[in-house]
Point group: C2
Chain length 192, copies 2
Amino acid sequence: MATSRTVRARRPGGRSALVRDAVYTAVGQLVGQGHREDMTIPQVAERAGVNPTSIYRRWGSIDALLGEVAVAALTRDEPLPDTGSIAGDLRAWARVIAADITRPERTAYLRAMISARTGSVDHCPCWDQRSEQAELMIQRARERGEVTPTSAQVLTHVVAPLYHHVVFGLAADADYADALVADTLALAARPH
Amino acid sequence: MATSRTVRARRPGGRSALVRDAVYTAVGQLVGQGHREDMTIPQVAERAGVNPTSIYRRWGSIDALLGEVAVAALTRDEPLPDTGSIAGDLRAWARVIAADITRPERTAYLRAMISARTGSVDHCPCWDQRSEQAELMIQRARERGEVTPTSAQVLTHVVAPLYHHVVFGLAADADYADALVADTLALAARPH
DNA sequence: GAACAAAAGCAAAATGCTTTGCTATAGTGA
DNA sequence: TCACTATAGCAAAGCATTTTGCTTTTGTTC
């Protein structure tokens, strides 16, 4: 994991950023090894080669840190499929999502993000991102004159079930993704 | 919360059960007050009027305890709607689910359950319960000669999006529930 | 009702997380 | 380059959680 995110900070370059990256990397490694539940700040600090105090002062708690890293990891943007039809695009996209979020670290990050979420927060960066992606594919398809589902339908009937399944420990494979897309396309095709 | 669950234990009556109930109640109160994140075993023990050691020896960690209480709270069975049509049943059922899981304690429990879930677990008691409920309503409707969605479709296109929305902090109100049911019924109506 | 066994209570010790005051380091702007 | 400031490092103290060995209570069985 290299220096990729440009968090607006007073001192974006230099040591601050180095420490942050080292900490992010350490958290990533621990999550990868299945230590999401029992992660502690001293642990992360040691692995990052950083003083625990620095983490305490910057993030306050392991949950806040984990939440931040999770969001960062889950919102890196990937290339969108462009197959020439909305059906093909959605199918490819859904499969990529399924494959992505079923990877153990990703699942762990998702759970961390959910766990960190407090009642007051009412929007979710990774959901916003999926929404934008859906909009884009639909936009393109409409310009080609295709009949398409709405982005709300795509989010509700394709993305939500995938995330739900993963988060609750149910199967979310390519077949499931395909079925979701098929249903959603059927919804769109029906006369309004 | 009274003595309702009959966990198969060597000594089902008596002190063991009393301690368990007191602990469950204490956890419930703390969750209700928004202390899911910062709950500790000594805290729960004091509120339950129980020795911390007892909790350590029985549950091991606060996460294990929270997970257990969450599952217990989320799988108490409610009466199913019986309106005479699958459309009415599903609409009523979806609204009840939405209203139920958007209550703050319920949302907290859901998140606790998700957080407690490890990769190896591949089924979810509260999902199983929803599945059984859906099957029952569909069964009844089919005996009346109605065209119905499959239970898989209901779970995927009604229940999953509701849970997803709640868990990720998005809105899940009666309107959303209605829209989900409408879409699912439309799917069922379409010629195969 | 007496013996047995399982679980709870108790208290002290140990462990490890967290805080705090201070110093050192390193970016930023003149 | 120099002053300034934000952040990191350090070390010690404080504190809460967790463990442990033992005793007590209480349900179960004969």
